[in-house]
Symmetry: C2
Subunit: 439 residues, 2 copies
Amino acid sequence: MSEVKVSVSPKEVSPQAAQESRVGSHPLRPLRIALFGFGTVGSSVARILVESKPQGLELTHVFNRGVERKRVEWTPKSVEWSEDADAVLGSDVDVVVELAGGLEPAGGWVRRALGAGKSVVTANKKLIAYHGAELERLAATKGGHLKYGAAVAGGIPVIPGLEQGLAGDRIERIEGILNGTCNFILSKMEDGAEYATVLAEAQARGYAEADPTEDVGGFDARAKLAILMRLALRVEVDPEEIVPRPITEVTAVDFSYARDLGCTIRQVARAERADGRLAATVGPMLVAVRSPLAWSRGTENMVIATGHYGGDVVFSGRGAGGHPTAVAVVSDLLALAHGSRRVEIPAAPAQVGGEFEVPHYIRFLVRDRPGIVAEITGALARERINIRAIVQKPGYPQDALPFVVTVEPCESSALKRALESIRTMDCLLVEPLDLQMLE
Amino acid sequence: MSEVKVSVSPKEVSPQAAQESRVGSHPLRPLRIALFGFGTVGSSVARILVESKPQGLELTHVFNRGVERKRVEWTPKSVEWSEDADAVLGSDVDVVVELAGGLEPAGGWVRRALGAGKSVVTANKKLIAYHGAELERLAATKGGHLKYGAAVAGGIPVIPGLEQGLAGDRIERIEGILNGTCNFILSKMEDGAEYATVLAEAQARGYAEADPTEDVGGFDARAKLAILMRLALRVEVDPEEIVPRPITEVTAVDFSYARDLGCTIRQVARAERADGRLAATVGPMLVAVRSPLAWSRGTENMVIATGHYGGDVVFSGRGAGGHPTAVAVVSDLLALAHGSRRVEIPAAPAQVGGEFEVPHYIRFLVRDRPGIVAEITGALARERINIRAIVQKPGYPQDALPFVVTVEPCESSALKRALESIRTMDCLLVEPLDLQMLE
């Protein structure tokens, strides 16, 4: 926190500054809002603006490709429906709400809007994770504001919580369940379903894409983690440096063993600063059933920020869906209308490592023969890794026998070396699955 | 949300406005801060300011009665220690941090500071619950700001979450575990301890006062609930209209029966707007062990806001203690230094009722004789209250027999009439204990 700097606003009267001074007088012209993207979230934002009529906000434009098939009857007659992005960006709107997602063309629209001194509200986690720092500098230069409360954990106010409520602390660790699709799949698997069945159900319900890699591979969660790291740990990182692990390696056997260990399995995104090093990772992990991370079921999201002074703060709720995400967007718009400036949290560029010192769960699937445990424990001993427990449940066949070794907290790199040696054993039917255990 | 109005700032250049314009230039004079009260929270605030050195904040004065016994060596030499409130209020400080608590003399200091155009940051739940609306109007008139993020749930950013992150929703219900002392006592009782023993432990640890009425009677939680109602339900209420129930009536027997019902017992503060009526209450209630309200153990706090659009959002963490509360204070100070205006949530004065339609748990303690159940169920039937279950566990003596009746959702007033009739039965050894059951 020693580096918290105070925002520097330019002295020129930018459109945003003019708008701010309007906010201070009464009656005022409301903020003119253009929605870019009229899908689930966009139509929910319009719905809230039309139903709740928040003073100070006026929906004036909707941009979408092939806008005619999107047009609805319940918005005010004055709203202009357009498929000409240039025309809308060149109009007198005050705020562009970017809900198209992805790096381009969304990034181009956002840059043009900010470059013209307009403000931007976006739910675009990828754009903010990869280009957030650059876009904030652009906004600051031109006098507009960039707000992205909807980019992480949808309707859960984690970003305002970190910016406004926890700015006075020094956050040392951030952990979260940031991908509702993975949480839906894993909490269904906890109840006994198989991965393929649940994935199909998630796809049928619209929770998962036809190609689910972005979600189950951990790429979606890592973009969100990069954004949280910026606000919580005050580091600007390249999301690509965070190595995600897919949840696809987790099987029913792992839930059974996890249960015996008093745990369940969740996709967790976590980052911490310890002993001067910064580490971040995303992947399936064992979490104690009594810990907050196990509370989230279905598509819920959760974030736990651990502060040096304030300890753990937990946020949980609906992380996705049209209405919850739209609440975050409309809240950001209200903050703009009220002239509420962000508490700027400066972040320094930093390299991310993957070194955590935690206990691990390692599940093996072997064709049984004498000497297997001796070889595995020998390989762990050579890396000075202490074994906590060896668990082998009855009822599995000798020729495809799953068993689990848990180890005391050890460096990730030491475990990786031990597993590289173990991986050469002839009895292994699949790669050993090692998961961090969070206590 | 249709009534959200945009803040109206006065046009005169008040000290606060001058300070805001300073915020916009660089380098700037930091905000000069006077701490009023140097107890646990005050010294934690000073500690964070000294250790973290947040730019833009400068501790300049500490006021405390008998200040000499409070003086510490680790603050900057420039800090002025004073027991003259008038002198500090009359100085050039920009922000008064009021941590003395109680209505007076704290209220007088806050009024004088705001009246002079200074800003005030306070953790004083009572002052804000009873006089928050009046003080905010005073601040708006004079150009200062009033911030009280620390007044409810200490280090948990519920107030910024409601103001900044959920302003776009229409909150329909707010529920919370707002008193750490009660939660400590009840979660220890859940583990088998007796009330008197745990209260003594809480007093020894400094969690409970010598006279614990303010906490166990529900008065502390009701002040906090009134503040949350203002921000979440947008109503200005008289806290005295919320009738609290003490936790002292809950016994070990109730935890045993609750467990059989898949529940535990927590002190819950809750308010909702349903069918056009506003209801609020504070007291011990049965909560499902799988529900978020059961997660909080020890002195933790939790708040659940239920939005029309966004559904349930849960905040949890450390609700009290020097450091967590100080985080909220320092975060408010940073928001002031950054010129972050509040999203003003206008509230309309409203009457509070106590009418909820929920299931109830009713525990009787009787000298057994024939006909008791018939009389009780008859009294409930006369009020058209449906019985869900009658539970009588074995192992209790006939002359002091506890048993439980649970009823389907019914109006609180109907149950009250039924209990008034039941209360005249000769076999009752104590008043029946009825608790709301939250599902």
